[in-house]
Each structure stands twice: as C-alpha cells, then as structure tokens.
Symmetry: C2
Subunit: 346 residues, 2 copies
Amino acid sequence: MKMRLPMFMSLAALVLSGATTMADPLRDEIKDQFAPIPAKAPGLPNNPATPEKLALGKMLYFDPRLSISHSLSCASCHNLGLGGTDDRPKSLGHDWQQGGRNAPTVLNSVFNLAQFWDGRAADLAEQAGGPILNPVEMGSTKPQTIDVLKGIPGYVTAFKAAFPGTSDSITYENLEKAIAVFEATLLTPEAPFDRWLSGDDKALTQNQKNGLRLFVDKGCSGCHNGVNIGGSMYAPFGVVKAPAPDVRPADDLGRAAITKSKDDDYAFKVPTLRNIALTAPYFHSGKVWDLKEAVKIMGESQLGVTLSDAETGKIVDFLNSLTGRQPDVSIPVLPALAATTPHPVP
Amino acid sequence: MKMRLPMFMSLAALVLSGATTMADPLRDEIKDQFAPIPAKAPGLPNNPATPEKLALGKMLYFDPRLSISHSLSCASCHNLGLGGTDDRPKSLGHDWQQGGRNAPTVLNSVFNLAQFWDGRAADLAEQAGGPILNPVEMGSTKPQTIDVLKGIPGYVTAFKAAFPGTSDSITYENLEKAIAVFEATLLTPEAPFDRWLSGDDKALTQNQKNGLRLFVDKGCSGCHNGVNIGGSMYAPFGVVKAPAPDVRPADDLGRAAITKSKDDDYAFKVPTLRNIALTAPYFHSGKVWDLKEAVKIMGESQLGVTLSDAETGKIVDFLNSLTGRQPDVSIPVLPALAATTPHPVP
C-alpha cells in the first residue's frame, strides 16, 4: 500500500502536467498565435522590481491621497475585485465628472504594446502618472502629489527603501515606476484556455473548442492574438462598417488625436480579451453590456460577417474560457497622515 | 546542544506569554477599566456567522454596485488601509456630496454600544443598511439594490449558501446581516497597550505609561474606557466649555436629533480611541488634523483642564500605543455582471 500513494501521485502529476496530451489539430494549428499568461510578473526595462519597490507601488495603487480630494485611487476605477475595471460605461472622477472612455482593465496590462485606448502612454509607468493629474480623474498636480507624499512619514521611509542611493527619492517618476512594478504583478494565469494551450485537453469544453475554431476562422484572431489575445496592435473600429454612433461616438477619433494622421481615425488599441466576461460594459464607449452583442458588433464592423446566434454563443463560450485566476491581493496598510500633511480639496 | 533549543524556546515562550510580568501598580489600578481587543470576532445575536455568510458579507462590503452609481462601496469611506476610515473631514458620496459628519472607523466597531456618531443604529446590521440608501452617500434604494443583487448570478448563489432554507434569500435584511458578520471580524488586536494590559511589561515605553497615568488622572478614562476605549456611552461635546464653532458646528445637535431631548444637545457617542493615530481628522466635524490639538480641546471642553505641551505629548504617546494589528483582508473577487443586471445611474 505504501508504494501506491507515490505512484498514484506521479500519475496525477503526469495528468496535471498535460503529459497525457493527445494530438490536437486545432491546438497544433493555433498554438503559435497565442501564449499563456505566465505565473510571474515580467521584468520592466530600467525599472527592476525589488520587494521594497513592489510594496511601495502597491500602497500607492491603493492610496486615495494621490487624488486632490483624497477619495480616489488607481483602485477606484481599476478594481481588482471587478476584473481590474469598474463595471461602469465611464468612470466617475473628480467632482463626479465622467471620463472620456471606458476604463480598460489593469490585469495583464503589462503585456500591451502601449497603454490607454489610444496608446498615448508607452508603458505602465507612463500610464500610472496620467490619471493622477487628469482634471476629470484624480485631479491633482505633480507638486501637490509630491507634497502629500513628503508629508506622510511612512512614505518618506518607503520611497527611500524602494529607491536607495538618491538624495531625493520622492519624485513623480519614482511614483510611476513603483506603481508600474506593482501593476506588472497583476496577472491572471491558469485560464481554461491557457491550460488547454499548455496541453490539458479537458480544460476546454467541446463548445468552447468550437468557439475557438470560429474565433480563428471568422478572423477575430487576426487582431486578438498573442499573450493578451489583443493589446498588440492598433485597428480602426469600423474597418468594414461604421458601428452605430452611440457605440462609436463621432467626436472621439481615437489614435488619430495622438498621431495626427487621418489614417488613424477611429483607431484604438485592440483591447485584450483576457477576463472579458468580467469587464462589461464593452468598447471604448462602454455602451454595450452584453458580450453576445459585442461579438456581433465586432463581426459586422470589423469582419463584415453576420454571426448567427449559435455562432455567437460558441464564441462567447470560448471567451468565457479566457477568465484566469484573479490576483490574490491583500489590502495594504497605508502610512498614516501627519498633522502637517496637506489636506484634501474640497 | 540539542537540549538547549527547546529550553531556549520555552524561555522565549515564557517571556512572550508575559509570565515574567512584574507587579505593576498602574496596571493593577486600571486593569478593570479596560480590556484588550480579542483576536476573534464576537458572535452577533440572531445572526450566527458561517463561512458562507462571512464570504458574502465581505463581497458586499467591497461591492460598489450597491451604490446607485456603482462607484461607491462601504470600503470607499471605511477604507481598511486607512484605519477603517477615509482621512477626510467628511466623506464624498453620491454626486460628490459631502456627508454630514466625519466617517467613524469600522474597525472594532462591533464593540460600540450603538452605531453612527449619534447612535441611531442599534447594531452593525442596522448601520450597514443606512449609507446604501442615504442620498448623500451611496444614493440607492432598497428595490434597486435588491434588483442589482438578483441580477448578478453569483450573488443568487452566494445568498442561497449564506441563508439556506428560505425561498427568497436576497433580502435587504440579509444583506445587512451578512455585512455585519464581516464587519465583526475587523478587529485590531495586539496593540502595545493591549499587550501591556495582558502582562507584557515592555510593551509600553515609560513615556506611554506616564501618558496613561495622565489619561486616567485627568479624567479621560471616565468616558474613554472599556474594550474600545470609548464607544460605550454618550456624552455632550462641551461638558465644561463649548468648543469653537468650527469644531462643534451649532447646527448639529447630535443625539438630541434622535432622542428629541434637550438634555442630549450636542451629545455624541464617545468615539473609540483605538487606532486613533490612524484616523485623522478628528471629531464629528472632522475639523482637527493634529492629535495633540484634539487632546487639548478635549481637556478644555470636557474636563476643564488646560493640558501643557508636555502633558499632551505624553497622552499622545499613550494614544499611539492603541494602534493594533490591522486586519489582513484580501480583496474579494466580486461576481460578474450579467447582461441584464440593472445599470448604474448616471
């Protein structure tokens, strides 16, 4: 009996590791188009992760005192309990103003080619600094943010530990770097699709495999590919046919506002489809609440195909397989105010 | 050598358990006035805790979809990273409206005799249901809240599991009960003062013991006593001398608005001093940012004594010993919207 347990466990390990994988023509065909989400955060160029920097970035991510009102944090609109977004068409920011576009998910965002819907930030660090200063988001200024951080003794210590060897560690650039290091850890590995990609035949249902087949054959994967199943390129929204004006408002030209090129009219970064079942409402306008409807709109506007209800259902089944293990994040204890810390406005 | 390790460990355990406690006249004198925060949540009458109810309550506590805008949750104003409050004079609620009083901490609040500054809610469950419906806080209605919860499949399952044996488990009363069960777990044990109370002589510095001596001798502990060092009675703010009108605004009569008794003019629940170093600004008006200033105001208004800077400093040193171990809470994954879940307003 004693020998059986290890043998059984070895067999289980064999099965779990996918070593019993059967040949699968679908996987063989598509495996080069996609990649699983890794379990560990990738390194960031010129911004090495240290435990101290990670701890600081986590505190900053959750700290509402980075906003001028001290009531909004990165986590307000990129809620880790809601798929890294906020379940609203457009986020509510300073003075109850609405943002211009639907909040994209922070989850796995380290794998996007650039940040924001229009790609105007090159990387997570550059992105992290944006909303703090945006008058319709956190509404602060660089000097105010730095004054608040310098006025909180625990941050003086935490910045020194995260950025040793400099006389002035509390800088806006260092704030951005620390947040980026934390955000790079917000990954959702082990989605059924990833387990299937890695060889676990049973991770997808037959219906999901049929949905994947359609996803590839109809052309969705032409843009939604790679590790993030999106996030790797820009594409005009409405390649074949302009979506309805509420879904694609005429006054938001997308990437064209950044590149000043007419070719980029209504172009946006192709959004990730990772955890898409958790991140309604959809599109940069946040106007579509039903994933089925979103899929049909994409078929018509991008591919010129009208997907049947049955086809749409299968594709949505496949999309449901992109929900990974959500990050397990404990709420950081934020350093206490001092009597002299600048006060919130209003 | 092998025998030494256990012996050493036993000695360490002896020291850690406080078995080496020396006789301490101060502790002997005051030990009946105070009690340490327990490590485990107390049971709630008619609301037994189960793992399912606790998990549900935790989700609800963090779920902004309980607000009409889907952007504010219990955790927005009772931030577990900020001592269970929000570091603002008055919280910002629906439509950027400010609340009437400073947000009290949720930490250890299960030990208060009643909830809210004016005690208008008998217990945590009754309190939990208030802000959701308050037009200046989360701005929702009971029917809207119930519709949203019934429209989220994961909540249908979670309420059934938490409240088995009823045909209609998603009720407002059950929502309140589940949140209360979670909130009862938000305790901060092991504050230096509690460790000292329990026999660890070295847990307080001499200055802190001197501060405690003053705290008792000057009369602070007449109201601030018990497990929460407050929270066990009501008292007029300004027993001896009315505080300045910005600190005690004339138009907020406190408990008198509930009891309709002139005797309760400007009476409030004595707030807990647990974690007071984390929960600036102070008083129901949230007008005082410096704990030293708050202590001096209390001396003059409640006790008719003018505390010197040195005395105030010692009392603040003692108050700093009331900061306990903050709860280690992971962010719950909230159940996903369905296509038919009611939408946020606006």
